[in-house]
Subunit: 316 residues, 2 copies
């Protein structure tokens, strides 16, 4: 089986860490690089966390540090009430020398890797889309050289799912709406998994205890980092467990048949009360703007079984 | 039975004329005034048409001329391919002296009537909302004195219904988005019937022939003015007949049980690619912005039966 080469653009982040463990162990995927973004923490914190995760779990891939601010304006305050003060659930995370990161900034790393492996790189982007937008601005030709881009972000109203920052906007999009508008308009194969879908899947306490029991060090680690996250979810009315945001994008890269999707162009409102709102229209409705896949439904049971199978598989 | 006092804010317009005939004959409603708006024609044309309709059908009510342009910018070009060159299906419409209109401009007429009949006036608004916004700006206290406002406008995505000017925007809203944003934010009881609902009801040729057979002069008139309208609908893929836009708002004023609706605040995008997009959020989601009723479904069969019954009733 040919494995998909993956660059993971991420702002770890509790669910980012869970997604990274998932993707680094999935036999269908080959992690070839990590790029960091601001979001769940400022860029220094998310880069430190990415380097820590790489070293702790023996992932022999470069970590390239991304942009410290969105295309326009200042970075938003990290949501410490969701991911903890250190963005990784307030477990002990040692400081890491910044020199441990790759010499290239994230967007140039993306460009170099895409050109070195034409038509082979899948980008799984689960944070602000700033790095991808900067890469497109500097080297628009990469759009035709990428295999696929899978984004976790947005909220498209399926089943009434609304934003998690404003009633209309999800965090990854409102954190850099201009970047999202550019990334969703590029002529590369793109799939978006918004809150519509990620909130259809819940990891319960019972599910997590199974990961602890059968998932070895990774299972225990997931339990440890996710206490803050579970408490946040309880505060917003999720009685037991939490939504599965970033790992949904990884699941799509492994097996898109877990999802149903609608095709059509997507645009992003970049200012005003609706800033960060993601809207899909009918195919061709916005002229040359390319159709993308917006996921609408997920087979949650099959997805959760897949995640557990990957996390609990004997180490290879 | 106490009849609801109605001011009809309108830009006749073929379906406006059909709605006016409907409301002027409904025993539940008492038409007390007509205010004109730009939209289906420039203000001079829609005012002339309103005066003509009033005189031809013996409606003994004042016609007050409304704003000639939206709150910001210029009026959009009249959609002659929908309503004909004269906005009334290109039947012969005699010119009417402008002095036949009421001395007050529409927004001052609205203010005066609302204050003269506190808690009794229902406004049925089926055009750009400029007149209502101007009235609110000049006399915000009217919001507490109006019985109800029923608007035909917008598109809320129910069953995938999209706009008819852009994929996101309906004509009455995109024609003056700022006015809609202000009207939907005022603290008066408000119901909105968008394309989601108006496109659920079709008047077929067979239905129209029944109106001709049993509706007397009004039935024949509806047939005559609607030939252009039917041709337009055929050009957009409606095989037989046409949607029932403005009369849906009248039906709501007569019998709201024909509709189901969702409650929550509504905002309007006022610039950018999504200009004119109407968005309803969950109750309370936008702070003090009041909840309004957005209609989602209509019992079309019962609505069509009601319209036929009213149009074909013996003259009183």
């Amino acid at each position: 089986m040919s494995r998909k080469k993956i660059i993971f653009d991420t702002d770890p982040g509790i669910d980012d860490a869970m997604a990274l463990l998932f993707l680094s162990r999935a036999p269908e995927l080959e992690l070839v690089g990590i790029t960091t973004a601001m979001g769940n923490g400022y860029i220094e914190a998310t880069t430190r966390n990415a380097l820590y995760l790489r070293d702790r779990f023996g992932l022999a891939v470069p970590v390239a540090q991304g942009a410290s601010r969105p295309l326009e304006g200042e970075p938003s305050l990290p949501p410490t009430w969701v991911h903890g003060d250190n963005a990784l659930g307030d477990i002990d995370v040692p400081e890491v020398s910044a020199s441990a990161a790759h010499a290239l900034p994230a967007h140039r790393f993306l460009i170099e890797m895409i050109k070195r492996h034409p038509h082979e790189i899948t980008i799984i982007a689960v944070a602000r889309l700033t790095n991808l937008a900067l890469a497109l601005r500097e080297a628009p030709e990469i759009a035709a050289l990428v295999k696929e881009v899978v984004v976790m972000g947005g909220a498209f109203g399926t089943h009434g799912h609304t934003g998690n920052v404003t009633p209309l906007a999800e965090a990854n999009i409102i954190g850099d709406p201009q970047a999202a508008e550019e990334v969703f308009g590029a002529a590369w194969p793109l799939a978006i998994i918004g809150l519509d879908v990620t909130q259809q899947t819940l990891m319960s306490s019972a599910y997590l205890r199974e990961l602890v029991a059968h998932g070895g060090e990774a299972g225990q680690f997931i339990w440890d980092i996710s206490r803050v996250y579970a408490a946040f979810h309880q505060s917003i009315g999720v009685a037991d467990g939490f939504f599965v945001h970033d790992s949904s994008a990884v699941a799509y890269a492994i097996d898109p048949t877990l999802f149903t999707a609608s095709a059509g162009p997507v645009r992003v409102v970049t200012d005003g009360f609706a800033v960060g709102h993601t809207i899909q229209s009918a195919p061709g409705a916005w002229g040359e703007r390319p159709d993308v896949q917006v996921c609408r439904e997920v087979d949650s049971a099959r997805f959760l079984a897949l995640y557990r199978r990957v996390l609990c598989a004997p180490a290879q």
